[in-house]
Symmetry: D2
């Protein structure tokens, strides 16, 4: 990733985001790890295993969606004020290549942070034998839930 053009309003953003990630049962279920965090950026990775696959032996498009929706959501959340939470309004995902390999890495990038809405884009890469392949591309709209911090 390149250096972030954003500055987080909440100096404790990383703590806040990591605590929120830890509260997501779905991240634990699929075995996802939050691998990198910066203002306006988040990377989440997972190691493919049989429970994540679809009928052709690739990671299910829905699991890919789960990873990159979370990466985009947490990328946005890094820039939100301390007493807010994040909600996905919608996202659109293109699947470009079979999601398989040693590791999948979903990256979320804030494109436009706003007071009420934030727009992000996302990429999912598959790593295999030292090679990286772009397997999915996402575009996402988030909502800032002001005055409603995570529990």
């Amino acid at each position: 990733m390149t250096a972030s053009p954003f500055v987080a309003k909440d100096p404790a953003y990383a703590l806040r985001v990591r605590a929120s990630f830890a509260r997501q049962g779905a991240m634990t279920l699929i075995g996802a790890a939050l691998t990198e965090l910066a203002p306006g950026y988040c990377a989440i990775s997972v190691v493919p295993r049989p429970q994540l696959l679809q009928q052709h032996g690739y990671v299910h498009a829905g699991i890919v969606a789960t990873l990159v929706d979370s990466a985009g959501g947490f990328a946005g959340f890094t820039l939100f004020p301390a007493d807010s939470s994040v909600l996905t309004v919608e996202f659109k995902l293109n699947l470009l290549a079979p999601a398989e390999g040693d590791r999948l890495i979903a990256e979320g990038f804030v494109v436009k942070p706003g007071r009420t809405l934030a727009i992000t884009r996302g990429e999912v890469h598959a790593e295999a034998g030292g090679k990286r392949t772009l397997v999915a591309l996402m575009q996402q709209t988030l909502m800032v839930m002001h005055g409603k911090p995570d529990p």
Copy 2:
């Protein structure tokens, strides 16, 4: 659901779709059940439990995506020829209300079946105390993989 306007080319479509569903590790992981199938239609349901949730206690948008992407994909697959398989090209999902309740039901409906591509739409409803709430809306593009039946 209303009566399907479609006729399946493959008379054994239900067997083929159910076998494909059974091979999806991801469906087992999230505890999804294929609850209804008709030409151009598929419903998949899940009972919310802690492992499927995000940080606010609702079912994760990615899990909702997994359900409805599969419902749309299998709805399309009912109309595909016997020696083909199905691939999601892309989908777009709007989250409309918190995904919580006794049961989530994702429905996929074929809008336009084509030789190479099929377009579907999807809805996810939450059932709670006998009430049904629309929680997500999807639009999806599938690809027919001719000559590549499921393993």
Copy 3:
């Protein structure tokens, strides 16, 4: 269209929407007419002519998008309060069949009206020789701009 399940907050909604439509230079440019309006519903039609076409002689996907984005936006606007305006946050459009014929009709339907955001879906049909063909399908997110009425 079926009877609308919605009630407009602003009894003068039709006047407000029609005045807003009349202010859109783009609607005049493409020759669009607002053909029907109800709470949560709007239909806009256009007669194909050479200036609206792409290189194959069909109406350009962008013109189809212009029609259905407006139909969705005005469908949402019927339900907004009197002192607000409407903004498209995003939309997604599938092109299903060649947009040609005697007339194109774009319909917008509110799926979920909210205080800040409204979600709509849209359809574009082509009429030719008394036959109607679905040529495009849309899903859209609108924003309610409170306290900012149209000029």
Copy 4:
């Protein structure tokens, strides 16, 4: 723009794309110009004028969509074989800021060229007083129509 990572199969791609652009009545109607072309890349610009606006005085989302759908489509078309044509399967557009200024420039970038489908992303920038603002973000799926060259 950065140097293109793609090589065009058809050495006469620029001629073919420009001829296709010239046949689009819709491009003439809105006053668009094809300002740059490279393998996997296309830029189309327009100068805002009253006929392109919506009710708030900004360029209509549908016109923005027309520009960037075309930019993405022609970006893809640069990489297609000589005897083919291009079809938009679907696109998704986020509107990020008011589309106003001295000039709008829509850029299309191929992300993944394929035999049957090509995936592109698009950006629309507004130029005003020497400043550039990102006003829209797109993600698009194209189809390669083999054996069907433009008329």
